[in-house]
């Protein structure tokens, strides 16, 4: 156990834990965009910045991203002050210039009193804030189908060479994790389209309800050694089947006792 001070309160934390986890456990709200429990922290959005110091640092203070900073004995952490407010405000100001149409960014910026960006606004700017949550979740999944391509202001998240990613399995993890809902997808009839790639959705062999994509099911069957027949019918029909199976056992048991 490690003892540290957060906003004047002494708290305990496990060795190797990141500062952000401890701060959140204390019920203190620090804004984050790129943070998600399922993926490794990378400190991309930099909104979770906190100020740290120690007793023997002679008053020196350091601003660090709390999602990437492991806890240390005797650390004195400040999560909200004027300097940190300005840092977060500047980040959101820049994001507002990049993604002026994103409701997510606009709402966050409004909390910092920003209605309009003070930087030259990109009028056609998309909603991607380059947090890389999508690429990291794809990595956790074991596919790494998408990645940042191009350089500088042309940088976008896309498949290799900006084409439809061959490794994508259409699981929609990236679309769901995206904080700004920038990643667009649609399910039309039997087909799902995401990243300019089309997938066939499995239709329940009994009722025709669409479940996940064939590619995703095949991936789970192979990677997690799940039987292939689990994926053939939908959850509603599987429940009915379960009821019928158990029901037949009940009936058989009743007949045996008579």
């Amino acid at each position: 156990m490690v003892k540290l001070q957060i906003n004047g309160k002494t708290v305990e934390a496990r060795e190797g834990e990141m500062l952000l986890a401890v701060i959140k456990r204390q019920g203190i709200e620090v804004p984050t965009q790129c943070h998600h429990e399922a993926i490794e922290p990378t400190g991309n959005c930099r909104l979770c910045m906190v100020e740290i110091t120690k007793k023997n640092w002679d008053g020196w203070k350091k601003s660090v991203t709390s999602c990437l900073y492991p806890v240390e004995e005797g650390l004195i952490v400040e999560t909200h002050n004027d300097k940190l407010f300005e840092i977060r405000k500047t980040i959101l100001d820049l994001q507002l210039a990049r993604s002026p149409h994103s409701d997510y960014v606009r709402k966050m910026a409004l909390d910092y009193g920003l209605e309009k960006s003070s930087y030259p606004v990109e009028p056609d700017g998309d909603d991607c804030i380059m947090c890389y949550a999508c690429t990291r979740i794809c990595e956790v999944l074991g596919k790494s189908a998408i990645s940042p391509t191009q350089r500088g202001h042309q940088k976008v998240i896309a498949g290799p060479f900006g084409e439809a990613p061959p490794d994508c399995i259409g699981c929609l993890s990236c679309a769901h994790i995206c904080p700004t809902d920038h990643i667009k997808w649609n399910d039309k009839g039997q087909t799902r389209t995401i990243w300019d790639k089309s997938f066939e959705l499995i239709a329940c062999s009994k009722c025709g309800k669409k479940t996940i994509t064939r590619e995703f099911a095949d991936y789970l069957i192979e990677k997690r050694e799940l039987p292939a027949n689990y994926f053939e019918i939908c959850d509603d029909c599987k429940r009915q089947e379960t009821a019928e199976k158990i029901g037949s056992l009940v009936v058989r048991a009743r007949e045996a006792t008579i």
Partner: protein, 137 residues
């Protein structure tokens, strides 16, 4: 102290009180379609309450690529960790009993978590077809 959730289908009359209790507890609007327990008819007027089996080697846990489904050692149930879940619906597709569900109202994956060790359906079942019994060693 360990408990086991028991379903005795012979005693089920299909009154659907468990479904309502569950829907009121979780969805708050009491819509039976948003329950985690389903009393389903297998023959005329014969019902089986279908609810998560909390399997030992669960397909949902295996299917989850993000470790969002984990066994709660205290209650014995498999819980969804909403901080980790990305709603890919792999568990819903994988569960062979159809007991991992999507709640369209909350846009969340839901499954029976035994109400964190205090199941409401058991309290409301008038026929004691649902029980939560202590395991004696």
């Amino acid at each position: 102290m360990k408990y086991r959730y028991q379903v005795i289908p012979e005693l089920c009359t299909g009154c659907r009180t468990c479904e309502l209790a569950c829907a009121f507890k979780f969805a708050r609007d009491g819509k039976p379609g948003r329950s985690r327990i389903y009393p389903l008819a297998h023959a005329k007027d014969q019902y089986v309450p279908v609810v998560c089996f909390q399997c030992d080697d669960a397909a949902c846990v295996r299917a989850c690529m993000f470790d969002a489904l984990r066994r709660n050692e205290e209650t014995g149930a498999i819980d969804v960790d909403y901080e980790r879940c990305v709603r890919c619906e792999a568990c819903v597709a994988a569960c062979p009993f159809g007991c991992a569900l999507v709640d369209t109202g909350f846009d969340e994956i839901v499954k029976c978590d035994l109400c964190r060790g205090n199941p409401v359906c058991v309290k409301f079942c008038p026929e004691s077809a649902l029980r939560y019994v202590e395991i004696k060693d």
